[in-house]
Symmetry: C2
Subunit: 198 residues, 2 copies
């Protein structure tokens, strides 16, 4: 069974998923063999449908199924507040909060000279166009708290400084539920620096 | 994005795989969206191909891609020694040893009155036919070491007792690398019972 070409091809496909090693990929391919026929064929169709039906929203860059995404199309949302993220999955994290009712803009990456990603590869032009056209008043930059995310945030903040919008960055500090003695020193110093009056 | 029907369908398909919870299924579906187009379509095709091309070997019940499986077709293997397993994946475990050169027979399950699986649902008739036709001399019963596996093994051993074949069962004992103080008492008593002269 180890040498069946169709099986090997499926194991290979599974191992392209994030966090899936050779052994797990084998277990999954085996599960597909043991699945009910219609479940397995439905699985294959679901993958094809995802790639056929889902595209990036031409406005914000989130994934959408028809025309613009549900966030851009929703007139009940506050179109004057915008969170700028690197990737669609980051916006998904905010959507799960059910707490933010503004709009998003996906940069499509971060500035990373070592990987050859310059600012020109990010969707910054369309960000400026949207800020003007949609009357955005507040921009929250939500790139990851690491070197590349910081560089990108500072670069954007400088570009936006003369656009008449309020630009902010997510707060740094201790994650909720953390314990002080396990916090790394950089996080702890950021938490001290950003201390709030009670 | 949480509400895109094609995305939800794919998350749903992924969560049918063993050991995949809602969160991992979401991460995988997201990875499919971010994959290269041809990798994603290749993935869908790989699932379909697996189900179209792979069937159970009509002789032994292992998975095969054309006609009989590679084990049954291989005349270099010792067709007089047979390992009887519950499921194809159990045979795969032996194949990985590269140590066993006999043939297999897949029962298709175990006797489990609580789940409504009686002996009649197992491929026992074809096992007897094969033992006669293929001149099998030794049968090793390799069902799992639990209540249902034991019941099945004892039932088979009794049926086979007058067929003129040598019937054995896998050895019980301590797994290699185990430590004595962590071994459960049943395993330990089996290891003592099956002790070997040095």
């Amino acid at each position: 069974m180890k040498e069946l070409p169709s099986y090997i091809a499926l194991v290979d496909s599974f191992s392209k998923l994030p966090g899936i090693g050779a052994k797990t990929a084998e277990r999954m391919a085996y599960a597909v063999l043991e699945m009910r026929e219609d479940d397995a064929l439905g699985f294959a169709d679901a993958i094809k449908d995802c790639r056929t039906n889902i595209h990036k929203c031409p406005k914000c860059g989130l994934y959408a199924e028809n025309g613009h995404c549900e966030v851009c199309d929703d007139s009940a949302r506050d179109h004057s507040t915008m969170i700028v993220v690197s990737f669609p999955k980051d916006a998904l994290a905010f959507e799960k909060l059910n707490d933010f009712h503004g709009i998003y803009h996906v940069l499509g990456g971060v500035i990373s000279p070592s990987k050859g990603f310059g600012a020109e590869s990010l969707s910054i032009d369309s960000l400026f166009r949207r800020i003007e056209e949609e009357g955005v008043k507040e921009v929250v930059i939500a790139t990851n708290p690491n070197l590349e995310g910081e560089t990108t945030a500072l670069y954007l903040a400088r570009l936006l400084s003369d656009k008449g919008v309020s630009v902010s960055r997510l707060a740094y500090g201790l994650p909720m539920g953390a314990s002080l003695d396990y916090a790394d020193s950089l996080t702890l110093s950021k938490a001290l620096e950003g201390r709030k009056k009670l």
